[in-house]
């Protein structure tokens, strides 16, 4: 079928009105059956209902060159961090080298289950809306499964200029035989996505379906088990780059399921405060297209803004702390990882590494902090082209205190390692913002119980935050 240009007032609204019907057909999940009477839904039932237990997931992933990635101790970076820690402090930093997965990132874990489900249910193809590594992951796994694949990217500003990182991801998707649809900046991407699902009848390989999250649980399991095997204990903390919330949710669920219930779950994002994600002007003023606060905060405080009726990525259920690092610090650590550890990896994947460098300094020397991902690097997706692109877009490159960085105006590299520090977001502020939409709503006990699960705090605490 071909697209027809119909006035937004018609096409947009007609299609949006059919949103739930299209979703149901394209994800193979009847979300309605998990809904409670009030505000909540049965999250755990939605997660366990899809027929994937841990052994099945491991089997599917292993058959697809996904998972069982190396866990390495970053001895030099640990030593570097300790230079700035007080006596007896400076935790050991470990890194899970997720770039070793098929297609070069942890996203393959998510794609493996989605593509498996699509194949099992008899869909001819899969569609995913993503400008990130997830596209390459879905494309690679679809290629392996013999399914067609369409990736929808937000790619260009109105001057037809694209982020080099996104262009590289488009290339990679095409390398696996996928069709890539590139769009200009704006939330109408969702309209296009729905239209494609409706026109093709393909499977919605959403990042936010239970498959998209359950696939990451193996990452949490591997971290818990690998550290336990090596060190006889679970890690004290795991730092997880947070954007749409799935990475954090899946990893935390896996850790807890493996018994690491006391491990601190720390979210990390690149601080892009002040840049509007739907702004045509701001689009090319950032140096990170994912792993940043522009996704991390809204998706944490309102997970159901995603492309499925109920997101399986619900980070506030698991998050103990939220650390922010600036763009300059992430580039700095990307360089440090290359020249001190011999690992050249993509910058966005090193967001949690930058946070860990600073967080480790607050922890005792015998404690362990795990950075749970890396991503592949290459043309476009590397600090050279990304910084070069920033300069072309008028961003001033400086050395100084990275916490003074103003996103969209400058990038500040730490003048030395002592200045590489994270900032902390108060989780209660995020909870408050989550609760905003229930402020004037009458809530019953079941609603409060649901909110208590969603926000990982007691009902009394929720009532205080609602005031």
């Amino acid at each position: 079928m071909t697209f027809m240009v119909i006035k937004m007032s018609n096409s947009y609204e007609i299609l949006m009105a059919r949103r739930n019907e299209i979703m149901k057909k394209s994800v193979g999940i009847d979300y309605d059956k998990y809904e409670y009477k009030g505000i909540g839904f049965d999250y755990e039932k939605m997660m366990s209902d899809q027929g994937y237990d841990l052994d099945t997931i491991i089997e599917i992933q292993q058959a697809n060159m996904v998972g069982k990635t190396p866990l390495v101790e970053l001895k030099n970076i640990t030593e570097y961090a300790r230079k700035y820690a007080k006596e007896g402090y400076g935790a050991r930093i470990f890194l899970k080298d997720e770039a070793a997965n098929l297609s070069g990132s942890f996203k393959a874990r998510r794609a493996a289950l989605s593509v498996h489900k699509a194949k099992e249910l008899g869909y001819k193809g899969v569609i995913a809306a993503t400008s990130g590594n997830y596209g390459a992951a879905v494309a690679a796994l679809a290629a392996k499964a013999g399914l067609k694949c369409i990736i929808v990217q937000e790619c260009f500003d109105s001057k037809n200029i694209s982020q080099p990182e996104i262009l590289e991801k488009a290339r990679k998707c095409e390398a696996f035989g996928a069709e890539v649809i590139q769009l200009s900046v704006g939330p109408e991407l969702f309209y296009m996505f729905l239209k494609l699902l409706d026109d093709t009848g393909y499977f919605n390989a959403s990042l936010y379906s239970p498959y998209g999250i359950k696939g990451i649980e193996t990452l949490g399991h591997e971290i818990a088990n690998d550290i336990f095997e090596k060190e006889g204990k679970f890690p004290e903390a795991v730092v997880i780059t947070n954007a749409g919330g799935g990475n954090l949710t899946g990893t935390a669920r896996g850790l807890k399921d493996a018994g690491a219930i006391d491990t601190h779950i720390i979210a990390a994002s690149v601080d892009l405060h002040g840049l509007h994600m739907a702004s045509d002007n701001d689009f090319n003023k950032k140096s990170f297209t994912t792993g940043h606060t522009g996704f991390g905060i809204p998706f944490s405080t309102f997970p159901d803004r995603s492309d499925v009726p109920r997101s399986a990525g619900r980070p506030l259920r698991y998050m103990d702390r939220y650390a922010l690092v600036n763009q300059g610090s992430v580039f700095f650590m990307t360089e440090a990882l290359a020249i001190l550890e011999g690992m050249e990896r993509g910058p966005a994947g090193n967001t949690s590494l930058a946070a860990a460098f600073s967080l480790a300094q607050e922890m005792k020397k015998d404690e362990i902090i795990v950075v749970q991902e890396t991503e592949y690097t290459g043309a476009g997706k590397h600090l050279l082209p990304q910084i070069s692109f920033a300069k072309k877009n008028g961003i001033c490159i400086k050395f100084g205190n990275p916490l003074d960085e103003i996103p969209g105006e400058n990038i500040i590299f730490p003048k030395d390692g002592s200045l590489l520090k994270h900032k902390e977001i108060n989780i209660d502020d995020m909870r408050k913002s989550y609760l905003k939409r229930y402020k004037d709503k009458e809530l019953n006990l079941a609603d409060f119980q649901y909110l208590s699960d969603e926000l990982k705090i007691g009902i009394k605490h929720i009532k205080e935050l609602l005031k």
Partner: protein, 100 residues
Amino acid sequence: MIDKGTYVRIRKTIFKPEERSSNLPVETSKVPFKMWVKGYLGEDSDLFDIVTIETITGRKETGRLKEANPPYKHNYGEFVPEILELRKTILNDFYGDKNE
């Protein structure tokens, strides 16, 4: 002229500014919402003609013909001297005098 069957890239306006979603930042609401997609050209055409293509998954799309045999142009960018500076900083921090 570009031959039928050539692999090309087209651009299409999905929504004009006045047709766009409400709640957009002002600068976004003033520009059209556009799409780029690649595929095989349906018939002999000239650059900037409105053409129909068949995409790699077999879908038909129409739009303005922008480019034939579209290459990948992203690369490692310009030389960035600040990265050498970064490197020096890290090595000096880490090795101190040993790095001299």
